[in-house]
Subunit: 108 residues, 2 copies
Amino acid sequence: MNKPLVTHLAALRALANPHRVQIMDWLLDPQSHFPPQRDGDLVLDGVCVGFITDKTGLSQPTVTSHMKSLEQAGLVSSKKIKNWVFYKANQAALQQIATSFTSASEAL
Amino acid sequence: MNKPLVTHLAALRALANPHRVQIMDWLLDPQSHFPPQRDGDLVLDGVCVGFITDKTGLSQPTVTSHMKSLEQAGLVSSKKIKNWVFYKANQAALQQIATSFTSASEAL
DNA sequence: TATCTATATAGAAGATTCACTATATGAACA
DNA sequence: TGTTCATATAGTGAATCTTCTATATAGATA
């Protein structure tokens, strides 16, 4: 149904920040970017806030805030296990964005 | 090659604004959104700043500023004819973004 | 030449974003 | 029960963004 780019404004805004878009890239291939986790699988469950905090060098509250932005935009989902919150990329959302950019690039 | 999303940060930032992303959608199908032009073809040359200004309801300097953002991000190109500046969507740039989102959506 | 037209530039006010520190919450465990 | 660990919330200051008005520039035209 060829959705216009403006449909994805919330996601575009979430990705318009160097830390957040970098985090998305990391979450898309977590095994290459994070150490193994004990209480949750990197791929199946996602990556915990602490690991992302370490890798960005930002403070923990700042990372929590960025992750909420990404989640509200539908780009990631979260799962709470014990004390941890694991974040995982939402590939369906990325696919919808991809579709819109593809049809945009094919416009006559 | 499979470029990460962070590669497109400049474009994502340019599109992270409701007016700019709306303008992009309009420029992708100019004939559906703008009246015919006398001194430049809507499709071949692009759309002049004045038409975009009218359609957004923003002031002319604000639109000029938005168009410069889009151009610096590589999302549009401009052509000056007489007194007008015509802006046209850069579909090659959109295609590269589409490719990155597609491979992101296919990450394992 | 003088004027008109389309766009660009300058400058400033208000809103939003981004990051921090300090602190709270809530679950697990000694 | 009390402590520890991981994350959330509150609050704040600095930077950036968005928009405006006023004005400048440059090309076309009378």
